[in-house]
Every structure is written in structure tokens, then in C-alpha cells.
């Protein structure tokens, strides 16, 4: 079994999952007639897709609808658009500081993610493999930290940030986000590290590797799918984070996309729906691209399929 495990670990993770799924699909297909497949597979799948994609569709639709059509449901079909316009998007990109917000978001998310993953790798390796006294307790405590909701933490954290004079700067967010990212990433990576056979490390130890070399030359290359999923998880969380971004930044040029679009694109009680939706749409595109690249690693690491 260990042999199979190490093999699978070495396989390019993408191929492993493909092989697995195609195997299971082919293995059972002879049992299923086509009508049966439609009912058991394609119909539910289609429904789920519809429910999941509809908000996206709505968002995209709204962002290209002329203002007149947006609120007039009588004359126009609300599910369709005639004479689409790029006005909202143009206004968003050139009439507001949207590019700046996008940049802020990207900068904060990237920096916070790398910081968190670095810390998580060290923490997870130490807890999973260095049998120090109290490692179990530390592991459990880190997970407890994850369970404390941001809505409780943001007040004390805000005063800490004030104390260090970091208020209203991207650095404030970069330092605060790891409080939510590290616990989860540590747990994810701990689980991943534990699936790597212990003997590999012992062998490396005899081969003359130091702990640091074992980590960088053996463990991390084998944990790439785990690292990718921790990365995607952290990045997404930073990208969408709202409450800290709202409380810790105030000036227009320091805001991130989620905060900026609700605070800057709403005039009093007038919602500029077109620009709002355009902002949300453009803001989600980088994530879509990221997911498209790494979705296989993400899924396989989450389900542990790469290893066994």
C-alpha cells in the first residue's frame, strides 16, 4: 500500500485524478442504459449547474443592460437584454478608482497568502512530524483559533492595528488576514504531510539530510497538490474578505474591491446596479482563471485522491 501511495504521490497530480475518474466511470457504465443515465446523472447535474450559474448570468446580464431596461420589467424581458451597452464597465474602469482597488486586492491577497502559507508549512510540519511535547495540544489550539468568527475578532484586532499605526494601509490587511488563513492552511497541510510515508524522511535522514533539507527537498515537492489547495483557499478568502477590509481601511484609494464597490458605487440610497455588477464581475474574473488552472489539484487534495 505504501508503494502505491508513494507512486501516486509522484504522479503528475492531474493525471491521477483523470485516471481515477475515468476508471470508475468506465467500470460501471455497462450497467446503465441511456434513459437511466439521463435521469440519474444529467438531469441532477443540469439542475445544479443552473442554480450555481444563474447568479453569474444575472451579474453579467445586469452589467451590460442599459439603465432603462434595468428597472423596467414590464416592457423588457428581465432574463434577456436588448441593445447591450459597455457604459457601466467603461464608467467603472475610467470614472472610478476601480483599477486601483483591483490592484489593492491582488496585492493584499498575494502577500497575505504567501505569508500564511510560509507560516503554515512550518507549523504543519512541526506538528505533524516533530514529535515534540504538546504537539497535539498546539494542533488543537490552532484549529480552535479558526473557529473564532471575525465578527468577534475585528474589534481587538482593530485596536492592535491602531497601536502599531498601520490603520488604513494595505499592510494592516496583510497582517490581519493570516489570523484566519493560517489555522485552516495548517490543518490542511498537516493532513497532507501525514500521508507522506515516514520512511522517506528516515531514509533522507540517513542519507545525510538536515530537517530543513528534508522539508524542502522531500516533503514540499511531494506536497505540491496540498500547497496549491492551501494557496487557492487562502487567496479566495482574502479576495472576498469583507469585514476586516471594511473596518481597517477608510480612504478610497486603500480599499479592496468587495468593500469599494458597495461603498463607492452606492450614492446614498441609489444603487448603481450596472456598475456594481460590472465591478463584481470583473473582480471575480481573476479567481475564475485561477480556479480553471488548478481545479484538479484542488479537488484531489481536498479529497485526498492523490495519495491513496
Amino acid at each position: 500500500m505504501v508503494k502505491a501511495m508513494t507512486d501516486a504521490a509522484a504522479e503528475k497530480p492531474g493525471t491521477t485524478t483523470q485516471v481515477l475518474t475515468s476508471d470508475t466511470q468506465e467500470g460501471m457504465t455497462y450497467l446503465e442504459s441511456i434513459p437511466r443515465r439521463i435521469v440519474t446523472l444529467w438531469l441532477p447535474l443540469g439542475l445544479i449547474m443552473l442554480i450555481l450559474l444563474f447568479p453569474f448570468y444575472w451579474m453579467a446580464l445586469t452589467s451590460v443592460k442599459p439603465n432603462a431596461q434595468l428597472i423596467d420589467m414590464e416592457t423588457y424581458n428581465p432574463f434577456w437584454v436588448v441593445e447591450p451597452t459597455l457604459d457601466h464597465i467603461k464608467k467603472l474602469l475610467f470614472g472610478t478608482q476601480y483599477p486601483r482597488w483591483l490592484w489593492n486586492t491582488m496585492y493584499v491577497a498575494t502577500a497575505a497568502t504567501f505569508l500564511s502559507i510560509f507560516a503554515s508549512v512550518l507549523a504543519a510540519y512541526a506538528i505533524a512530524r516533530l514529535k515534540f511535547r504538546g504537539s497535539q495540544v498546539v494542533g488543537a489550539t490552532i484549529f480552535m483559533a479558526y473557529l473564532v468568527p471575525p465578527s468577534i475578532l475585528f474589534i481587538p484586532l482593530a485596536s492592535v492595528i491602531h497601536f502599531y499605526g498601520l490603520f488604513d494601509s494595505p499592510l494592516a490587511l496583510i497582517l490581519v488576514y493570516p489570523t484566519i488563513l493560517i489555522p485552516f492552511s495548517t490543518w490542511l497541510l498537516m493532513g497532507y504531510f501525514k500521508t507522506i510515508p515516514f520512511e522517506l524522511e528516515e531514509c533522507a535522514l540517513i542519507d545525510g539530510a538536515s530537517r530543513w533539507q528534508i522539508l524542502t527537498k522531500i516533503i514540499l515537492p511531494l506536497a505540491v497538490p496540498g500547497l496549491i489547495s492551501a494557496f487557492i483557499f487562502s487567496f479566495t478568502l482574502c479576495w472576498n474578505e469583507f469585514i476586516y477590509a471594511l473596518t481597517l481601511t477608510t480612504s478610497v484609494q486603500n480599499k479592496t474591491v468587495p468593500v469599494a464597490i458597495v461603498s463607492e458605487l452606492v450614492d446614498g440610497d441609489v444603487y448603481r446596479w450596472g456598475s456594481l455588477m460590472a465591478g463584481a464581475l470583473v473582480g471575480s474574473l481573476p479567481l475564475v482563471v485561477l480556479y480553471a488552472f488548478f481545479v484538479e489539484h484542488y479537488v484531489s487534495a481536498m479529497t485526498g485522491a492523490v495519495k491513496e
Binding site: 509522484a10 520512511e199 535522514l205 540517513i206 542519507d207 539530510a209 533539507q213 522531500i218
Partner: protein, 353 residues
């Protein structure tokens, strides 16, 4: 190359003592096999040699230097694990060169030594493959290659052949033995397979429940087992044991509860009437007149020999014959133990008499 001294080594995990004072002297260049049933502490002892477990008490020295507190990488040993533990993300060549790379050897030196080792083991065409692209036997060989590239003081093997099929195991056994004859590196080899132990070892160490039962050359252990455990462990099929009382009535013999007389060549010291265990190996039975009356239970021809399970009184024994035997279950035969090949053990202590 170096000699290894294991002196009164004990090992406890928490409150449980696993090794109860083990001493093994190993000479430079010797091939020593640690053998014993599962859970007797073989792997633990080997891992202590490698520096992967700390030593509760006693000392281990390699090449005259006490290594109790020495880090594995400074012990200059190489170990082959049961599951090979090849690095899955490195090619065969990288796997073999990894330790040299860590030591900061130059690229050309690594290349040369990897090539040389690959040549010895017939791995040259596989150097660019990944472990997952190899068969079990090839992986095994890579694991060995990784060990010999380093040219260490001592090789440690932990059941390296137990994942291979029977035929390959025999082939690799010979290969490891040949390699040892060629490199003459001190080797400690762990197995629970007594045939492996018999065929490969210069010296066998039989372990049982954390102690050493006997230590010596393979044939010495076979011919003169120190106690009933070693007698039963070494040799296949295992030695037969028959309970009885020592008697000297003209000639010496052991009398079983059913009254059969098991012949002895000489009378050992000790009072007659003493409770003993009579041990006789399956290959030391002869068929013919004047033996013990037996009833055949099973006949197992293997081609080269015939194994017969027979019942003497109420005890079953196994006998092995070189010649083909035309007998079938239920037949009554007469089995004669060779008096000169019989072993006697004390009933209470199991020690050889």
C-alpha cells in the same frame, strides 16, 4: 568497512521493555543476519544501529567509536527499508545520487559513482526512470544501489525481500550475497525467514521476545541448537519434538508415555527418569524395520522429496525422504529416528542436554 559492537543494549518504549540486554559482536566485513519471529525486536535493534531510535541503555559502537549520541548522518551507514522508501519525485539516478549531493560532491563525481553502482546492479538502462515506472525487483535494486553508491561503513537491511514474489526473492538473495562477497562491507540483515538467514549469513543471531536465544554460524545452529526454540526455528520443515522420559536400560533411549522407545547414541549425564523433549529433524527419519509404528496422515510429494505427516502414538510428526515413497494415507509404516542425529532438551527449561 568497520566492526560493530552491540553491548548489553536495552530498549524501552514508555514502560514496556522491548529489548532486554542484547550483545552482538560483529567483525569487520561479516554478514550478520538477525532472525526471529514477528515482534521480537529485530527492526528496533536495527533502527537503533541506524540512529533512528535512541538507546535506552548499553552501547553501540561502529568502527570503535561509540555512536549512542551520534546523528544518523554521521554514522556512515546505509539502510535499505522493507518498502524501499525511494523518493517518488526523483529519477533513479537522482535517488541514488541524493546522499552524495547532500554531502556536496561535485556533479561529475556523483555521475561517476552512480554509473558505477548502476553498472554493478544492472540498472544502467533505468537511470532516467521514476520509481513508479519500475517493477518491485527493480525498485529493490535501486534501493540497494542507493546504499552502495555511498560506500558506507555498514549496510543495514530490514526485510528487503519480503515484498517480492518467491522466485525473485531467491534470485535477489543470491544477488545480495554476491554483492557482499564483492564489496566485503559489514552487513546487518534483518529477516524473519530462516531460509534467508541460513543461506546468506556468516553469523546468525536468533532473537525471541527481546533476547538472543543463540548466535553462531548457520550450520552450527542447525547441528547444535542451544535450546528448543532455536531447534524449532531453524530448519524447514521444523524439527519434531516428542515428550518422554530418559531411560538407560542396557542402551540409552527416551520412553514416551505410550511406551515407544526413541533411540539415543549416548547416555547424557543426568538421572534416568528425567522428563525430556526428544527432537528429531524430518530428514533424520528412516523407513524400515525396527522403528516406531506409525500411521500415515498426509503424503506431500514435492518432486525432489516426499514429505510424510504420520502419527506416532498420539503425536504427529513430519518426515522427509529423498526417495519417492509409494505410500498413501492410512498405511501403517515403521519410522526409525537416526540415533546420532537426535537432540535432547530439558522439559522444564528447554535447554539442550
Amino acid at each position: 568497512m568497520a566492526s560493530v559492537q552491540i553491548r548489553d543494549v536495552r530498549k524501552s518504549f514508555g514502560d514496556v521493555e522491548i529489548l532486554h540486554g542484547v550483545s552482538v559482536p560483529i567483525e569487520d566485513g561479516q554478514f550478520v543476519v538477525l532472525v526471529g519471529p514477528s515482534g521480537c525486536g529485530k527492526s528496533t535493534l536495527l533502527r537503533m544501529l541506524a540512529g533512528l531510535e535512541n538507546i535506552t541503555s548499553g552501547t553501540i559502537s561502529i568502527g570503535g567509536r561509540v555512536v549512542n549520541k551520534v546523528h544518523p548522518k554521521e554514522r556512515d551507514i546505509a539502510m535499505v527499508f522493507q518498502n524501499y522508501a525511494l523518493y517518488p519525485h526523483m529519477t533513479v539516478a537522482k535517488n541514488m545520487g541524493f546522499s552524495l549531493m547532500l554531502r556536496g560532491a561535485s556533479k561529475s563525481e556523483i555521475d561517476e559513482r552512480v554509473r558505477k553502482a548502476a553498472n554493478i546492479l544492472g540498472l544502467t538502462p533505468l537511470l532516467e526512470r521514476y520509481p513508479r515506472q519500475l517493477s518491485g525487483g527493480q525498485r529493490q535494486r535501486v534501493a540497494m544501489g542507493r546504499a552502495i553508491v555511498r560506500d558506507p561503513q555498514v549496510f543495514l537491511f530490514d526485510e528487503p525481500l519480503s515484498n517480492l514474489d518467491a522466485k525473485l526473492r531467491v534470485a535477489m538473495r543470491t544477488e545480495i550475497k554476491e554483492l557482499h562477497q564483492r564489496l566485503k562491507t559489514t552487513t546487518v540483515y534483518v529477516t524473519h525467514d530462516q531460509i534467508e538467514a541460513m543461506t546468506m549469513a556468516d553469523k546468525i543471531v536468533v532473537m525471541h521476545d527481546g533476547i538472543i536465544e543463540q548466535m553462531g554460524a548457520p550450520l552450527d545452529l542447525y547441528d547444535r541448537p542451544a535450546n528448543q526454540f532455536v531447534a524449532g526455528f531453524i530448519g524447514s520443515p521444523a524439527m519434531n519434538f516428542l515428550d518422554g522420559k530418559l531411560q538407560a536400560n542396557g542402551s540409552a533411549y527416551v520412553q514416551t508415555a505410550q511406551g515407544q522407545k526413541l533411540p539415543l547414541r549416548t547416555m547424557p549425564q543426568g538421572d534416568s527418569g528425567r522428563d525430556v523433549v526428544y527432537g528429531i529433524r524430518p530428514e533424520h527419519f528412516e523407513m524400515g524395520e525396527g522403528g516406531l509404528p506409525a500411521e500415515i496422515v498426509v503424503v506431500e510429494p514435492t518432486g525432489s522429496e516426499t514429505q510424510i505427516v504420520a502419527r506416532i502414538g498420539n503425536q504427529e510428526v513430519i518426515a522427509v525422504f529423498r526417495e519417492r515413497q509409494s505410500v498413501k494415507p492410512g498405511d501403517k509404516i515403521s519410522l526409525r529416528p537416526r540415533a546420532d542425529a537426535a537432540h535432547l532438551f530439558a522439559k522444564d527449561t528447554g535447554k539442550r542436554i
